[in-house]
């Protein structure tokens, strides 16, 4: 899932300071699961904004809504009518939701209320960790299902750097050295020979280095 973290209230207030009526739009997808952008988060943020603006003597009207997913036209179109009276949209979906809204409603500005972080999963209740960087050419097959691109601070492909110590990454004491994890897992799987192959430099074109990427599913094309 995509994990996002709400921006600080001060920053949000500043970004909507010129408006008297906005639409606050959440999303029923990933950000509902990570608590930062679902129906409840919309309610909470709306009341926080209203209280703050009242204190400033500049009350604001907020239309609250949460489409099933903000990243598809079909779901956001259901709120077209409500949008007509709003001066701007404050979105607490991920960055994809914000852009879907921006493209659909060219004359209305959509402001991000979240910092979109990464693709990952909850390792425990209310704690998410990154697992995939969408590099476009997956190597999990020979790493024992553990990703060095998303989880190694140096994106190394040929084993741990010299800073790996007691299973911890040199960059952050609270983060596992992913190459220690890979080593341990491959050892368990009896596949340490995977680590002896000198892996060639990666083709970063499939990642973010050749501009926007596109996926086509031919069979489903109309």
């Amino acid at each position: 899932m995509i994990v996002a973290d709400r921006k600080p209230l001060e920053e949000i207030l500043d970004s909507i300071k010129d408006y008297k009526k906005i639409m606050l739009m959440g999303c029923g997808g990933c950000v509902t699961i990570c608590f930062s952008g679902g129906v409840k988060a919309v309610e909470l943020l709306a009341s926080q904004i209203k209280i703050a603006r009242k204190k400033q003597g500049k009350p604001i009207e907020i239309i609250e809504c949460t489409p099933e997913r903000q990243c598809e036209f079909e779901f956001i179109d259901a709120f077209k009518k409500d949008l007509e009276s709003a001066e701007a949209v404050l979105s607490i979906a991920c960055g994809v939701g914000v852009q879907t809204m921006s493209e659909r409603h060219e004359d209305t500005i959509t402001i991000p209320g979240q910092n979109t972080k990464f693709m990952g999963y909850p390792v425990e209740h209310a704690l998410w960790e990154e697992r995939c960087a969408g590099c476009g050419n997956c190597v999990l097959e020979w790493t024992g299902g553990i990703c060095p691109i998303a989880r190694c601070a140096k994106k190394l492909l040929n084993g741990p750097c010299g800073g790996s110590s007691n299973g911890v990454c040199e960059v952050d004491k609270d983060t596992d050295c992913v190459w220690q994890l890979i080593y341990d897992r491959l050892k368990k799987l009896n596949k340490l020979e995977n680590l002896m192959v000198v892996r060639q430099p990666k083709d970063w074109r499939t990642s973010t280095d050749a501009g926007q990427r596109r996926v086509k599913f031919e069979e489903a094309m109309l």
Binding site: P160, E170, V171, Q180, Y183, M196
Partner: protein, 306 residues
């Protein structure tokens, strides 16, 4: 000969080699390099010119290396993977060779969050293993990484890599060394050794695998002036093993500087007797002037003629 350098000649002649570290300044003053070069001149077979070490901006290692060369010191240019992509690296490798540089040491590099630009984007387009293979490809196959031919004047560099016997996973460290040799490393410099026991254990594994016959291994040593430096490294530098006895010995010494030199000389003696070690690499952090003193006392001067 892969290069025409002194370091390779000394090692292939079977002589015990000596290299030392020479850190470029955080400014554009060539005099700083010239001054430090004097501590190395005639005393070492190669001087490592660090590359934005600990992720702090310093004079380019290639520029500083060219200055050292003009002072008669053979530079070993360090190149980290943090700051440059494959285009910039290959172009700098050609440039270094054109300036007369004969040795190149390939490293991953400390993460930028340790340095003075922690907010920088890092590169790591290629990792240290891939860098070793890339330099070898340029030298031996006369090809750029992409396969394009280098029609003439390929860079004739003696290729170095690093090994850290004290990092984890410990058992993987020997495998990683083997991998670096397969990738094309000609010589290895180790992380600085304080834990002789652990180093000896690692060397035994290296010898058992026969790796010492495929690569020249130089043992890294750092003379220290106080127990505080040791304590600091123990607590703050990842991938270091520093025995408490050593800290205690430094702490109780009447003349800690002398004790630091003594310890270093003793370690050199132990290393000389160890199977599979071809030399030492001195890293006297901020104490370059001690290099000739230690080498003299360890009986490593004058350097052999090759």
């Amino acid at each position: 000969m892969k290069s025409a350098g002194r370091l390779e000649k000394v090692l292939t002649a079977g002589q015990f080699a000596v290299t030392a570290e020479l850190g470029p300044p955080q400014n554009a003053n060539p005099e700083a390099i010239k001054k430090k070069s004097q501590h190395c001149l005639g005393n070492v077979d190669g001087a490592n010119i660090t590359d934005n070490q600990t992720a702090i901006v310093r004079m380019s290692s290639i520029a500083a290396g060219a200055i050292a060369l003009s002072c008669g010191v053979e530079p070993i240019i360090q190149m980290v993977c943090r700051d440059r992509n494959r285009l910039a690296m290959q172009s700098d490798i050609l440039g270094a060779a054109a300036l007369g540089i004969q040795n190149l040491l390939c490293l991953s590099g400390d993460h930028q969050t340790f340095g003075n630009h922690p907010d920088a984007k890092n590169v790591y387009d290629v990792d240290s293993m891939q860098l070793i293979a890339m330099v070898k490809k340029m030298r031996d196959d006369k090809q750029f990484l992409c396969g394009d031919e280098i029609k003439e004047h390929e860079p004739k560099l003696f290729i170095g890599a690093v090994a850290n016997p004290f990092a984890d996973p410990f058992e993987f460290r020997v495998m990683r060394l083997a991998k670096k040799i397969n990738a094309g490393a000609d010589f290895i410099q180790t992380q600085c050794i304080f834990d002789m026991k652990k180093f000896a254990e690692w060397m035994k594994m290296v010898v058992a695998e026969g790796l010492h016959k495929k690569v020249y291994i130089l043992a890294g040593l750092t003379p220290v002036r106080s127990h505080k430096a040791l304590k600091y490294m123990k607590n703050n530098v990842a991938g270091m093993s520093i025995p408490d006895e050593l800290i205690a010995r430094m702490e109780s010494a009447e003349d800690p500087k002398e004790e630091g030199v003594k310890i270093c000389v003793e370690m050199i003696e132990q290393i000389k007797g160890m199977e599979g070690v071809s030399g030492i690499h001195l890293m006297p952090i901020g104490w370059e002037s001690i290099t000739p003193v230690i080498l003299e006392r360890a009986g490593l001067l004058p350097r052999p003629k090759v």
